[in-house]
């Protein structure tokens, strides 16, 4: 049977990996290439790179780094950040990305998902959504979680999946950086709405949070986290042993 995937996420700015708490107060952690190699050697099932650079120079630096990562490690790579057109898909796919994650780009231009899915296949298009509860309603936030789009999250996700998004990363702004567990309520709502793979993001602080995630919501395919992996608070081989001890299928 297919395994649950554990995915470290690397936010890259000016060639370095950074991770913010609730998206603010960025802290430099390490080099993307050495971290990627470390994760690949230590049983990460996939890696996600978010380019959070705004400048053109930074973007070039990012694609150079991506090329270096993709020629060094041989597990699936997803790239996001600054993806606004199918040309952006092309740019990162040529550097060795396998999947491309769209967030604000799809909000600005909802036809991006269908255009990219037609050109590169559904499996290549990952919808990433930053979601926050506003007056008890799940709302889609744009621009790295700073701007409320006013859109209701579940209907937005359903629409994008119908347009060809092959996977959905659900990032709960409410639990991100809090390290008190994934947002099970939000994830359940998404899992009940779509049949494509769902990746949980935001809130993992310890191994048990992943056990609780996969036990409570067997339909969730993967768990994604950043700083707890980067700072070694949770080691992926240990995490996977714990998951296996809890009868959750993993690659070990």
């Amino acid at each position: 049977m297919i395994t649950k995937r554990i995915i470290p996420c690397l936010d890259v700015k000016n060639g370095r990996v950074v991770k913010g708490v609730n998206f603010e107060g960025l802290t430099d952690v390490s080099s993307p290439v050495s971290l990627a190699k470390y994760y690949s050697d230590n049983l990460a099932d996939e890696l996600v790179f978010y380019d959070i650079t705004a400048s053109a120079e930074g973007r070039q630096l990012f694609t150079d780094i991506l090329t270096e990562v993709a020629s060094t490690i041989f597990i699936p790579l997803t790239v996001g950040g600054g993806i606004n057109t199918t040309d952006d898909f092309d740019r990162v796919l040529k550097c060795g990305a396998d999947k491309v994650s769209v967030n604000s780009g799809a909000i600005k231009d909802p036809s991006l998902v269908s255009a990219a899915a037609r050109k590169y296949g559904d499996q290549c298009v990952v919808l990433s959504v930053d979601i926050k509860r506003v007056d008890g309603v799940f709302r889609v936030f744009a621009k790295g979680g700073r701007e409320n789009t006013g859109m209701e999250a579940i209907s937005w996700i359903k629409k994008c999946v119908a347009n060809g998004a092959g996977e959905v990363v659900v990032n709960s702004i409410d639990t991100d950086g809090v390290k008190n567990g994934f947002d099970l309520e939000m994830l359940e709502a998404v899992c009940n709405a779509v049949t494509v793979p769902v990746i949980a993001s935001g809130g993992a602080g310890k191994k048990q949070d992943f056990v609780d995630l996969f036990n409570a919501l067997p339909k969730v395919d993967a768990g994604l986290a950043a700083s707890i992996f980067h700072f070694g608070e949770v080691k992926i081989p240990d995490l996977k042993k714990t998951l296996r001890d809890n009868n959750i299928e993993v690659r070990l």
Partner: protein, 204 residues
């Protein structure tokens, strides 16, 4: 020398890098006269079967691949490239394949016990051909990375490995000099590199 056949389908960056990583001398080309120099050929592929088969035919590379395979040149099809080795595909219509292996490619929809499709992620290999070259260095139960919604069937004479996904899914085939992996060895970490190494050099 390993020649990766470029017929305009998908991106060959990772595949090329992974062969380099196992120490192989590798090149990418869409030109017959270049590919003739290859001692081993790789047929890659992503996307839809019909489009890929059309591209392979329109470049004339279909006949080249068949003739090299018939001469005994080792040929490894990867993902859609493996599916193209078979006689036929029923992916959105009916399409002719290269016919190098017996079998057809059929949709997995409705056969996987309600599981999600595409079948995407890491799954276990169950080896079923003890004399296999591809898996000469692979242990039963190793995980490799899959992304597909269609699979080969009626290919018992070449079947080398299966994986479980609501059904027994053809994971790899091997018959004489014709090899195929439904999974992506170039995305399967060390397990994948071992398979590419075995294809290049045999048992370690």
């Amino acid at each position: 020398m390993i020649g990766i056949i470029d017929y305009g389908v998908g991106n060959l960056f990772s595949l090329t890098s992974s062969f380099k990583a196992v120490g192989a001398d590798v090149f990418v080309s869409g030109e017959e006269k270049e590919l003739l120099k290859a001692e081993k050929l790789i047929l890659p592929g992503v996307g839809a079967f019909g489009d890929a088969a059309d591209k392979l035919c329109s470049t004339g590379l279909d006949k080249f691949v068949i003739s090299q395979a018939e001469k005994g040149v080792p040929l490894l099809g990867i993902c859609l490239g493996m599916q193209l080795l078979f006689e036929k595909s029923y992916e959105y219509g009916e399409h002719e394949g290269l016919g190098l292996l017996k079998g057809q490619v059929v949709p997995m929809y409705g056969k996987v016990n309600g599981l999600k499709l595409p079948h995407m992620g890491w799954n276990k290999l169950h080896l079923c051909k003890p004399e296999s070259r591809l898996f000469a260095n692979t242990n039963e139960g190793e995980h490799v990375y899959f992304v597909h919604s269609f699979c080969a069937e009626n290919c018992e004479d070449s079947l080398a490995a299966v994986t479980e996904y609501g059904m027994a899914v053809t994971a790899a085939v091997e018959k004489e000099n014709i090899y195929g992996c439904q999974f992506h060895p170039e995305k399967s970490g060390e397990a994948g590199l071992k398979i590419l190494k075995a294809f290049c050099y045999g048992k370690a």
